[in-house]
């Protein structure tokens, strides 16, 4: 918000420091400065008024008050007319019908004003603060708002209906309309407050004036309104009308009701000084507001403990006096009452903040806390596992990525999910990304594919992150890890599937995952559709341990690639960390390596194409006794023209107890050969 250095100086008794110095000073104690611009009379400070101070300090008097307190000076109040406020008036009848909307309503009548162009100094000051000069009356109303923070509105007295002018503050009727000063017409409803006379709406309360009673060059008698509207009501109206004005912005931030008569007196004085006219000193003040005067007991010991530094009592009281608090008592039980306009001060802690910031945080030393060494530190297990998983997958040559948590509707369908299983955003950032991701794969696949243009062969990427599901209206959030391998040049490089599977196996080994991990095909629906449409139905697997699904791996179906806008071969896998880590073990137990040598024999087979390796392996294991130590497939060559698969294994025999005899192993191999030959379509080479 822009502040005129000249106007601030007008409001502080002492000479202000140079603009830049003042800006730094305010930054450290009150409000951050976004910079100083202009010189001389045009010097403007751009200050970020903190949200909790917008009610009292989004004004020159507010900033001048803080500046004065910091400079050990005091506020120089602007000149004001002396008005006698009563709740009735012979010519003007003010009636507040909706007290939830309006808490205080003050008006003053000024006769014989001359509406013309404002003097140069006034126009300049308005302009440097971003306001367009219009005429003396409107300009003064705006200027007094900049001084006090209280929005004002001027009506042309003659244009208010009937002889005895009645000003009614009420809710609008459904469908009532008002033409605003800027010419646009607004249609209102009961949630919107208005200022009305017997003929209808004069202004949208606290937001915008209407054209019917607007000030023109011909205006002779005016009524200035200085009212207080409730923030929630203005906020609702402003949202309903999609209209924010300087006035509505301020009322939403809860302008202190005590500003209403003050601003009116300042405005009356300025108008007679600049636009001439005669003030009717009998002014109206209809007031339903509750005064803000909490009595707050301070505990200086608590203050000192909170800050970690001893603040002398004298500093406490001096600071609070400078901020216009009234003070009673002393020692550890000082009772203070904040000034009426400091609506933000309600508890002792609010007061401690005032003392701390005016004193300056630079007075607080950095002191290391001390505490019990054995203070309980609960390491979050999932977090430390995630770090291990990340390091592990990186060591397999994968690049970690962080992708967006939002996905498209069509992507959700790839997981066989319906809209009610995922979260939809009320206000998506892009209409095309309305859902929260149930899986990390879609963005991962797209990202990996996009990178294939920079890499000669496959791109390997992974992400560790949250997936979001909705279950019976409740949030179900999961830690997921996904990996994607993509290559653009080959359409059907199924070797990548085995690479992904190899990564999963290696990862599970490194996590000490026990339990029986099983890779099995996804089931298909009655229509023959894969349960997981993302994947090629014959090139994908659900992974489970002890019957609980921990993840999936597969080659992306061409239809999925079309949906994602990618090509080539893309293999993806995703693991659910919750159930996976249930089976993980961070402890390792060493098992003695056999002291006796192992003997390795190879066996090569011809089997029909599509024979499952798992089936062959299980026959190998079942055929032999407990001296078979390991089975390791080392050759796998489908020979399409002969409809046969050439496959070979190393069989490793070893005993933990003795040296095996060659003859013994020969016998084992004989058993293996016999078992294989049980199947007439299998052949040992």
């Amino acid at each position: 918000m822009k502040f005129s250095y000249g106007l601030l100086q007008d409001l502080v008794e002492k000479k202000l420091p140079a603009p830049n110095e003042l800006a730094d000073f305010l930054t450290m104690h009150s409000f951050e400065s976004d910079g100083v611009s202009g010189t001389g009379e045009h010097t403007v400070l751009d200050l970020d008024i903190l949200p909790n101070r917008a009610h009292d300090a989004a004004s020159h008097m507010g900033v001048a008050r803080d500046s004065a307190a910091l400079l050990n000076s005091s506020l120089k109040e602007p000149a004001r007319a002396s008005l006698h406020f009563r709740d009735t008036h012979p010519d003007i009848d003010v009636r507040i019908e909706n007290k939830d909307l309006c808490r205080r309503y003050c008006v003053v009548k000024i006769e014989n004003v001359s509406v013309s162009e404002s003097p140069a100094w006034l126009k300049e000051r308005l302009e440097i603060m971003g306001l367009q000069p219009i005429n003396t009356i409107v300009d003064i109303a705006n200027y007094v708002m900049l001084i006090t923070g209280q929005p004002l509105h001027a009506f042309d007295y003659e244009k208010i209906a009937s002889r005895k002018k009645s000003i009614i503050v009420r809710s609008a009727q459904q469908g009532e309309t008002v033409r605003a000063l800027d010419g646009s017409t607004y249609t209102l409803n009961q949630d919107i407050g208005v200022i009305a006379d017997s003929d209808g709406v004069l202004a949208i309360a606290g937001i915008k004036g209407g054209s019917r009673s607007g000030i023109s060059e011909d205006t002779k008698t005016i009524v200035i309104e200085s009212a207080n509207f409730a923030p929630s009501s203005i906020r609702a109206s402003s949202q309903a009308l999609r209209l924010t004005t300087d006035a509505s912005w301020r009322f939403e931030r809860d302008v202190p009701p005590c500003f209403a008569p003050l601003a009116l007196e300042i405005a009356a004085k300025m108008i007679t000084d600049i636009a001439g006219g005669v003030v009717d000193t009998s002014a109206v003040d209809v007031n339903y507001s509750t005064p803000h005067n909490p009595r707050i007991t301070l505990h200086t010991q608590r203050l000192n403990r909170l800050l970690g530094v001893e603040i002398p009592e004298e500093n406490v009281t001096n600071t609070l006096r400078a901020l216009e608090f009234s003070i009673e008592g002393e020692g550890d039980s000082i009772v203070v009452v904040p000034p009426e306009f400091r609506l933000d001060i309600t508890t002792e802690y609010d007061v401690y903040e005032e003392i701390a910031r005016i004193t300056g945080y630079e007075k607080v030393p950095a002191t290391m806390p001390y505490g019990v060494l054995s203070s309980p530190v609960h390491r979050n297990d999932v977090r430390s596992w995630k770090r291990r998983i990340t390091q592990e997958i990186v060591s397999y040559g994968f690049f970690e990525i962080h992708t967006v948590s939002f996905v498209k509707k069509e992507w959700v369908e790839l997981f066989g999910m319906t809209d009610d299983m995922v979260w939809e955003l009320e206000n998506p950032i892009q209409d095309s990304l309305p859902f929260l991701r149930p899986s990390l794969i879609p963005h991962g696949a797209i990202t990996a594919f996009r990178n294939t243009r920079y890499v000669n062969e496959a791109v390997r990427m992974f992400e560790v992150g949250h997936g979001f599901l909705k279950q019976k209206g409740k949030s179900h959030e999961e830690d997921l890890v996904s990996l994607v391998i993509a290559r653009k040049d080959k359409e059907n490089d199924t070797e990548l599937f085995y690479e992904a599977k190899g990564v999963i196996t290696a990862l599970c080994d490194s996590l000490g995952v026990g339990g029986d991990g099983v890779f099995e095909p996804f089931s298909t629906t009655a229509e023959g559709q894969c349960q997981m449409p993302l994947f090629h139905p014959l090139q994908s697997a659900r992974i489970s341990i002890d019957n609980e699904m921990i993840g999936a791996v597969g080659v992306l179906a061409s239809s999925s690639k079309t949906v994602l806008g990618i090509k080539g071969t893309v293999v993806a896998a995703e693991l659910r960390l919750g159930p996976l880590l249930q089976n993980a073990r961070s402890e390792r137990v060493y098992q003695a390596v056999s002291k006796y040598p192992s003997i390795t024999r190879d066996i090569s087979l011809f089997v029909p194409l599509n024979t499952r390796v798992a089936d062959i392996e299980s026959i190998l294991w079942n055929a032999t006794g407990d001296v078979l130590y390991d089975v390791d497939m080392f050759d796998y060559r489908p020979i399409a023209q002969d409809n046969v698969l050439s496959i070979a294994f190393h069989l490793v025999f070893q005993s933990p107890e003795r040296t095996l005899l060659s003859q013994e192993v020969d016998e084992q191999m004989e058993l293996v050969t016999q078992a294989i030959q049980q199947n007439p379509s299998w052949e040992v080479r």
Binding site: R302, L306, E362, V394, V404, W423, L436, F462
Partner: protein, 331 residues
């Protein structure tokens, strides 16, 4: 006798000079002076001789030994100069590139997150993450941000459908303050690193999803002074250099007093790094703590920004784009 030794000497020196490789030289040398070498054996035989003969012969033999050693030494130096020629066949081109290893990389944000965690863990802080889908209660109300309060405008919020169900994407990591305090008793020290969401336009320095790290320390007499020390320690460890910090007034509904934390490294200007403050008594009350007995500090810091400063990255969008040319710089 002398003749015999003279003959050995001549023969030895000629054989030494005739050697063409180290190996050959070594073999020759050992045949004279090795454990079973001709000269060695004669030296050993001395012990069985009468004293007089031992003396004369001993000095002759030692002379012979020195001659052979000297010749071998000279030959070794000569061979040294021929070494490259000698192993010529085994020449490799050391300028050829090493075999490329398939390497991946940890994302720079993850990397920085781990650094942050490690520094705070070393100061006794616990680490927790928390859900990204939050309830209005934890994201706002429990943090002293009531419904319809203008303070809610401070956070541009993503709402989930239906809006009246009261679910949001967390706009900050602060909800975990409440969740954690509900489950633990003071004294406690916690950091919450994690993803947060704001409904705002994306540009070079803003993204609708970014990462924050929340900090919380609650105990008897935890003070602003303690916060200054802890945050200062963090910055110095993180940047590995002397760092100045300063606090100035700030406003967050869940702290009182509230401040902004600025940091300055030598020779640079002040940078706004974090929002912080003393935990608001209303927040302590919400979780059943007694504000008269315990106090605490809390802070929230943009972790993307820390990463950008650390690696001199000038565009926050790079973190989410997953461009391999970016990621490869972090292998």
């Amino acid at each position: 006798m002398d003749n015999e030794l003279e003959q050995i000497k001549t023969q030895a020196i000629s054989e030494i000079q005739g050697s063409t490789t180290y190996h050959e030289l070594d073999t020759v040398f050992r045949s004279y002076l090795g454990r079973k070498g001709r000269v060695t054996l004669q030296l050993r035989a001395l012990s069985g001789m009468p004293i007089e003969e031992r003396k004369t012969r001993g000095s002759l033999l030692n002379g012979l030994k020195e001659n052979i050693e000297k010749a071998a030494q000279e030959k070794r130096s000569a061979l040294e100069t021929n070494k490259n020629k000698e192993e010529g066949a085994a020449w490799i081109d050391i300028t050829r590139p090493g075999t490329p290893l398939q390497k991946g990389s940890v994302h720079p944000l993850t990397r920085v997150g781990w650094e942050i965690e490690d520094i705070f863990v070393a100061m006794g802080f616990d680490v927790s993450d928390g859900p990204h889908v939050e309830t209005e209660y934890y994201n706002f109300e429990a943090l002293n941000i009531p419904a319809n309060h203008p303070a809610r405008d401070l956070w541009d919020t993503f709402w989930l459908k239906p809006k009246n169900a009261g679910y949001v994407l967390r706009t900050h990591t602060s909800p975990m303050q409440i969740r954690y305090m509900e489950k633990h008793q003071p004294p406690l020290r916690l950091i919450v690193p994690g993803r947060v969401f704001r409904y705002e336009a994306t540009d070079q320095s803003h993204h609708f999803q970014f990462n924050q790290v929340e900090g919380l320390m609650v105990g008897t007499d935890v003070s602003v002074a303690h916060f200054r020390a802890v945050i200062g320690e963090f910055f110095e460890k993180f940047f590995g250099t002397r760092v100045e910090t300063r606090l100035r007034p700030g406003f967050f509904p869940f702290v009182e007093p509230g401040f902004e934390v600025d940091m300055r490294r030598q020779g640079t200007g002040w940078l706004e790094m974090a929002g912080a403050g003393m935990v608001h008594p209303n927040v302590l009350k919400v979780v059943g703590y007694d504000p008269q007995k315990v106090s605490g500090f809390a802070f929230g810091m943009g972790w993307d920004r820390l990463a950008m400063m650390k690696y001199h990255i000038d565009d926050v969008r790079l973190f989410q784009e997953g461009d391999i040319r970016f990621l490869k710089q972090f292998v």
